[in-house]
Amino acid sequence: MALRSPSGTARFNTLRRAVLEWSKRNGLFFALILLVIIFAAVSPRFLTGANVTVILLQISVIGIVAVPGAMLVLSGYVDLSVGSLGALVAITFGIMAKHIGVGPAFAVALAIGVSWGATQGFIISYFSFSAIVVSLGGLAGLYGVAEFISKGLVEYGFGNAFGELGNGTLIGLPVPAWLSFVAFMIGGHFWYRTRYGAHMAAIGSDKSVARSLGISVRRIPIVLYMASGFAAALGGLIVTSQLDGSSLSIGTNLELQVLTAILLGGVAFTGGRGSLFGVLIGVLFTGVLANGLVVANISPFLSDAVVGGALIGAAALDVLYQRLDRIPLREAGGSE
C-alpha cells in the first residue's frame, strides 16, 4: 500500500486501471456502440447524414433539459414539471407573440421558465417540501394552466427568424443540437471542473454533512431549479419553432424521457453519485434506440417497451455500480 513514485510501469498500470475502471462503470457506452452497429447492419439508411440529423433533432430538447435535470438528481432533487412547463411556455409564447411581438414574447417565455424554477426551488429547498411531490404538482398544475389559457386553441405562424431556432442549421448541424452541445459544455464545466460538482454530490449524499462543511445547501438547489426551468422553457420554444405552432402537446412525456436518460446514464436516483458524461450517453442511447427501431422497420410501438426494459436494466446497473465502488478496495488497498 506504499505510495510508490510513479515509475514508467507504475504509471502504465495506473492508466490501465483507470481505463478498466472507466469501462466498468460506462457499460452503457458500449451498449450504445453495439446498438449503432446493429442498426447500421440492419438498415443502410441508419447511418446516413439525414438520419443522424433526425436523431439529433429528436434528442436535442431532451439533452438540454437533462443537463440541469441530472444536476438536480445528483443533488438529491428532481424536477418532474419540465414537460408541463414546456407546454405552458409554448402556449403563453404563442398568445403573447400575437400581441407584443415574437422577440419580447420569447424573453417573457424564458422568464416564466426561470421564475417557475425559482419558485419551485425555493419551496422545496427552504421549506424542505418533497421535490417529487412539489414538481409532480407542477406537472399537473402547469398543464392545467396551459389548458385554461389556450382554451384548446393553437396559435401558429411566428415568422422565419423564430423558425431558425428549431429548424436552422449551423455548420451542418441543427441549431437545437448546437444548443444541446452548449448545455453539456456548460454543465460539464460545472460538474467536473468547479467545486460545485463535489458540492452537488455532497448535498445529494448527506445534506447535514454538506451544511457542516459550509456548502450552500439551499442556494445550489434553487439555482439548479432555475436552470431547469430555463432549459424546459427553451425546449418548449424549440419545439414551438419546429412546429411553427404552439400546441398543448408540446412537452408531453418530456419529464419521463429526461429522467430515463439521466437514470440510464447512471446517476443514482438517491443522489450523490453519477456522471454527466453518462447522462450524455443515456440521451444518445434513448435517441438511437427510438430512431433505430423505426428505421429498421420494427414497430415504433416497441420503442417504449424497450426503453422501459432498459430503465429496469438501469436499476440493476445502479446496484452494480454501488458494488463496483467497493471493489477497488481489494485492488488498491488490499495490502494494507
Partner: protein, 261 residues
Amino acid sequence: MSALSSQGAVAALELRGLGKSFGAVRALRGVSLAVHAGETVGLVGDNGAGKSTLVSLISGNARPDFGEILVDGQLHDFRTPHEAQGAGIETVFQYLSLVLSLDIASNMFLGRELVRPGRFGRLFGVVDKRRMRREVLHILERLGLSLPPPRTKVSALSGGQRQAVALMRAVYWGKHIVILDEPTAALGVRQTQIVLDFIARIRDQGVAVIFISHNMEHIFAAADRVVVLRLGEKIFDGATRDLTPMDVVALITGAGIGREV
C-alpha cells in the same frame, strides 16, 4: 499546527466546572478537565455517565448551564458547531462526514477547495485537483502514514481508512483539538490499528486528542491519561501507565478504587 507544549504550559482545552441538565436529569455536575497539546486523553464511563453530553458541549452542539470552556487559555462560548470548529476543535463522530462517491482528495478539501491560480482559474472557479492530491500525499508523508492513492473514492476504502481520512482532514485544517467519539466501535482488529496509529501520529504532531471508547484495550493502546466519568461527575483522572484495564472497569462500574460518591 500548534507547537508541542509541555504539561506545564497552557492547556489546549480546559473545561472548568461544566454542568448541564436536561429537564430533571443532571447529565453533568461540574466536570473540570484539561487536555494539553500532544496528549491523548481517554474518556470512559458507562452509558449515561455524561460522555456524550460533555462532547456535545465541547463541539458546540449544546451550551453548558454553568462552567467555562477555554481553548488555549481563551474563554469561549460556542453557540454552534461552526464556532467550535472555528476555535480549532474538530469532532469526528462515528457517522463520518465524508461523501462516499468522492475521492480522498475531494473529501479532504470539500467546501474549501483549492482553486487554480490566475485570473482564469478564479473567474471560472476551476478546482486544482492535482494540487489537492499532492497536498494529501504531503500530509500523509508528514504523518508517516499511508492510504490508497488520493484519487481513490472513499467508498472503496475500509472503515479504518475512512476514519483516517476524516482525522487527516481535521488535522490538515489546523484543528489542534480533536475529539473522537467511539472511532473504533464498528471496526475490525486491523482497521482499529489504522485508526490507533493515526491517533498516535496526530498526537505526536502536537494535537490534543480526546478519545472516547468502551474498549479498554483501545484506550490503553492510545491514551496517555484516562478520565472516568460516572453519573455526571469526574471520579478519576490519572496516567494510563499507573492503571490496569481492570482498575478502569472497576472505576466505571463504581466498584473499585475511586469510589468516593
